[in-house]
């Protein structure tokens, strides 16, 4: 049994040498060779993810464009690596800003899978944390907590929801600052191991970055998640219903749109999440209507939502 790399190297000397990109890698292509981008693309299965992103998520045009750009960059980087043109891992830390329910978490999950398929992340799992998971309660508690979260996310994505809570401007002895410093250090030194995605509302993220310029400059991609239009919300509802094997009757469709139009103007509207909640409640009413009717049921009766299931909502009475 021969074991490559078995020389008496001192530990710590040759870490992080990715065999694919090293100049001594045996499969470096000649200068006049050509690489097949299409084959590389098909081999990585990236198109499936991009297609499912396109079909599963409604709207979000700017986000999808940016995701495609990142995918293209990594793909080209991979092909460049075959010619020995290694350019080091690009910085892929991201910031997702947008109102509640605009799909930030969902896109983060897809992003992790995409980066995994493209070989940028080794595992492609997502560790979702908030301030509570990173910041400790007493002196010396924060660093181990933050390191623990980061270590769990190694090889995948660290998703920090509502990241602006990490920094509390009103309390300068807040431990959040310590957590931010550790994060920064890892974001800089472990680019190949970890992608940090921060998410939150646009205005508060703005304030957070203003007081932490180091953080802002280390995040290469700022993605803005726009609010959904009425058309898009209706399409989201349609998609959710299809997944749950329900459908709207023709009359219910117009009522549902009317419901959405009213709900959008009301406070605490949370885009996709509000749509999901509305449908959950409609399912509830649908079920109790069927139980109350107490008769023989066809398959279609079990799938079809009627206007009455929506009209009972508070949105229409208010």
């Amino acid at each position: 049994m021969t074991r490559p790399g078995f020389a008496l190297a001192r530990p710590g000397q040759d870490q992080d040498q990715d065999g694919d990109h090293g100049p001594a890698a045996p499969d470096v292509l000649a200068d006049d060779a050509t690489a097949d981008l299409r084959a590389e693309r098909a081999g990585s299965g990236v198109d499936q993810i991009l297609d499912s992103l396109e079909s599963d998520l409604v709207g979000l045009r700017p986000v999808k464009t940016r995701v495609r750009e990142i995918a293209a960059l990594l793909l080209v980087d991979k092909v460049r690596g075959r010619f020995g043109l290694s350019s080091g891992p690009p910085s892929l830390h991201m910031c997702f800003t947008g109102n509640p329910g605009t799909g930030k978490t969902t896109v983060a999950l897809r992003m992790a899978e995409l980066l995994h398929r493209l070989g940028y992340l080794r595992r492609g799992h997502v560790v979702s944390v908030t301030r509570d998971d990173l910041v400790g309660q007493y002196v010396g508690h924060t660093a181990p907590k933050t390191r623990d979260a980061i270590n769990r996310a190694m090889g995948g994505v660290l998703f920090i929801d509502e990241a602006y809570y990490l920094y509390r401007a009103e309390n300068e002895r807040d431990y959040g600052q310590e957590s931010i410093e550790i994060l920064l250090q890892y974001m800089e030194n472990h680019r190949a191991d970890l992608v940090v995605i921060m998410a939150g509302y646009a205005d508060r993220m703005e304030a957070f970055f203003a007081s932490n310029p180091g953080m802002s400059s280390r995040i290469a991609h700022h993605l803005e998640f726009p609010d959904y239009s009425l058309e898009e919300l209706a399409a989201i509802g349609e998609l959710m219903l299809r997944e749950q094997r329900y459908r709207l009757s023709a009359a219910a469709e117009t009522v549902f749109r009317d419901y959405l139009a009213r709900r959008m103007t009301q406070p605490r509207f949370a885009n996709g999440r509000s749509v999901r909640n509305a449908l959950e409640r409609a399912r509830l009413r649908h079920a109790s209507r069927l139980v109350a009717a107490d008769g023989a049921l066809a398959k279609d009766d079990l799938m079809r939502l009627e206007p009455a299931d929506f009209l009972a909502s508070r949105v229409f009475s208010g």
Partner: protein, 140 residues
């Protein structure tokens, strides 16, 4: 004299890549990893100092390797080992213990003889390093 204890200690030093694949093997079996260090090389010394808390719920070895490197940097003149703990028995059992750092110069150990009644001899292993106070055992 080169101290040998734990897994693979008869082999030449493992490189970081080889250590990483060992760590990945451990993580793949669901073992929790921890980093420990000491300057008492006696083979029966069970009380190594912990480098932070054991690392649970990891997916990837990069985090452990980072902790190892931090520990090596802080204690270049001590022994550092990684332990993998198997919890399937309902208690944490050490399933793998790997030396990942050793002092640059190891003076080794000697046998001490003790005369016991009836011409019996008792032997004990005494590391030369222990003649110096803890904390400065492998320094210049």
């Amino acid at each position: 004299m080169r101290i040998t204890q734990g897994t693979f200690s008869y082999l030449p030093e493992l490189t970081d890549e080889e250590i990483t694949s060992q760590l990945e093997y451990a993580l793949g079996r669901g073992w929790a990893l921890s980093v420990e260090f000491t300057d008492d090389p006696h083979p029966r010394n069970n009380y190594w100092d912990m480098w932070g808390l054991p690392l649970f719920d990891l997916m990837d070895a990069a985090g452990v390797l980072h902790e190892i490197n931090e520990c090596r940097q802080a204690h270049p003149e001590r022994y550092v080992r990684v332990c993998a703990h198997d919890s399937r028995q309902g208690r944490q059992t050490v399933a793998l213990s790997l030396l990942v750092n050793r002092p640059p110069a190891e003076p080794g150990c000697r046998f001490d003889r003790q005369e016991a009644p009836g011409r019996r001899l008792r032997y004990t292993v005494h590391p030369y390093a222990l003649d110096r106070p803890a904390g400065s055992r492998y320094g210049p």
